[in-house]
Symmetry: C2
Subunit: 332 residues, 2 copies
């Protein structure tokens, strides 16, 4: 059973409930019971929501009855197997850290986003949970991201790239250079370290996992979304700018619709918090019912494929548990 936070989606609770109706999993709904008609699972009445403008940790502590807090507590207590919310990222992260709790040895859970790169979905992490990280955290991100891609997306031996300003091992900040050396020394049979990759690689389908700090990752994700939107808008403006081209535009319209679907965040189900004791999926705030259903599907798959257990095993095998990367990997 998956705990579903009914608050938080821009479109309101009804869309979230509708999404749950189409998901192949049992759910318990945490939200305003008065607004939930014909629920597809148990309902825990939790009308209080945490908004995106509230300081997350403070809000989570001061609103123990908020839907996201109650849902996270249900997961932490073992009453639910995973958590799904379309609420504010900060609040979901804070509630999850408090109640779902970190996997043993993980100091910094990360936000992982599956980028809709045509033909080659690419996992980017950290997309914003940790704006400042140390090299050992980047190593953990690599292991967590690779384990997730193996478990949930069937990548047998994921290629992992470290985001930097050049492909050479010496390129980047001192932290990135050190992380590169540590990753090159990790004897992980379960992923290929592709070395440094540059920004181009994020959307080129060259690697399965792109590892970076939460500041750079958040900027990269939003630049990517912004650039895609700007280019699509420019294409549309170009097509609409002459009658002849407009006729052509009508003819290509159906195909562009398919592309729009490929790039739609609703398709991938949302961001995933990695490094916690249970799967947590953060659906896009602007999710449609289909987006919520896909987020639930993703959480269900993470549970069924034992993504958390496999992540823990991968971290342990690489020796980064507790020692956070200092024991079994070489210094640069």
């Amino acid at each position: 059973m998956i705990a579903l936070d009914v608050n938080g989606a821009h479109a309101g609770p009804a869309v979230v409930v509708e999404g749950a109706r189409h998901a192949p999993t049992a759910v318990t709904l945490f939200g305003p019971a008065a607004e939930i008609a014909d629920p597809p699972g148990d309902v825990v009445d939790a009308p209080v929501a945490i908004g995106g403008d509230e300081e997350p940790s403070l809000a989570v502590r001061s609103k123990p009855d908020a839907s996201i807090v109650q849902a996270a507590r249900a997961v932490g207590d073992g009453r639910a197997e995973a958590l799904v919310s379309a609420g504010a990222t900060g609040a979901v992260l804070a509630a999850s850290l408090f109640h779902v709790k970190r996997l043993r040895g993980v100091s910094r859970p990360a936000i992982a986003v599956l980028l809709p790169v045509p033909g080659h979905p690419t996992l980017l992490l950290d997309a914003g949970a940790n704006v400042e990280v140390r090299p050992e955290h980047l190593v953990q991100f690599a292991l967590m991201g690779a384990a997730f891609m193996r478990a949930v997306h069937g990548a047998e031996r994921p290629r992992v790239g470290l985001l930097s300003v050049g492909e050479e091992a010496a390129k980047g900040t001192s932290d990135v250079v050190e992380a590169h050396a540590r990753l090159a020394a990790v004897e992980a049979g379960e992923f290929d370290f592709a070395g440094n990759v540059e920004g181009h690689a994020v959307t080129a389908g060259a690697v399965d996992v792109v590892v970076t700090d939460g500041f750079t990752g958040n900027v990269a994700l939003k630049v990517m979304e912004g650039a895609a939107k700007t280019v699509v808008g420019a294409v549309r403006a170009a097509i609409g700018s002459s009658p002849l081209a407009a006729v052509g535009g009508l003819l290509v319209h159906g195909r562009l619709g398919g592309l729009r679907r490929d790039l739609d965040p609703n398709t991938t189900g949302g961001a995933v918090l990695l490094g916690l004791r249970r799967p947590v999926v953060i659906a896009h705030g602007g999710s449609s019912a289909e987006g919520i259903a896909n987020a639930l599907r993703l959480a269900r798959r993470a549970v069924d494929e034992r993504a958390v257990e496999r992540t823990a095993a991968a971290l342990e095998a690489a020796g980064t548990l507790r020692s956070a990367g200092t024991a079994s990997v070489a210094e640069p």
Copy 2:
């Protein structure tokens, strides 16, 4: 007269010389005299080139006869007014730091790139000169970028945004938070501080200048280029994937060509090094003759509009000279 490095362009010296022929400025060509036919200006024979795989500082010191070094020396000596090269960024930067030299009080010259945002060209800096910076450097980048946009692109009162992971002043790394506080306190009548901007803003035309460190800026620039290329490729694939859509594609082709021109790096002339005693323009390595001509045009304009002198005045007015931002701006 502008010193033009004839080596470095992927297409070879002939393309660079051809570009010089179409530029509205006097030039001196530094490159292999044997390969320069019918030169549009004086030629200084300098067949030695510095490649992108060489360590820049080392190469610049050990190859005093290299074309980029001789050209930079001509600018430093006052024999030329500005420098243009399509060579490796690192080599142009190193040669410029050694021979063109920093503007008084500027500790970290930055690479500024004018992004081809449709309808609203946006200057991004630092795009990679300094992978690690302190808050006072970010303040200098803001002042230098704003002065450049005023002088060269006619933005009367440029809006300057600080790239971060949220718009609130407290969002970002501790360095970004401190830079925000300092920028908010700068009494610069010559630009509007728009506060923090997120990655979306880079291509949204919301600000005239986006300020960030050279690591994030380089990643952002390449993610943007990569995403634009991926989306354009996907549009092309979508259009070509059915006979009917292909007919439509032919009809929109001309319009998409215009868009491609807008997004072409050759159009903007290249990156600019800010914070030096003379204008330095780094044309794209893949520049066409038109790209070289545009780079020379940009350098000419920077000279004519006294961009360097106005930058120095702006830095002095804001009190960041020598004291590097500590004297006349408030602490957070």
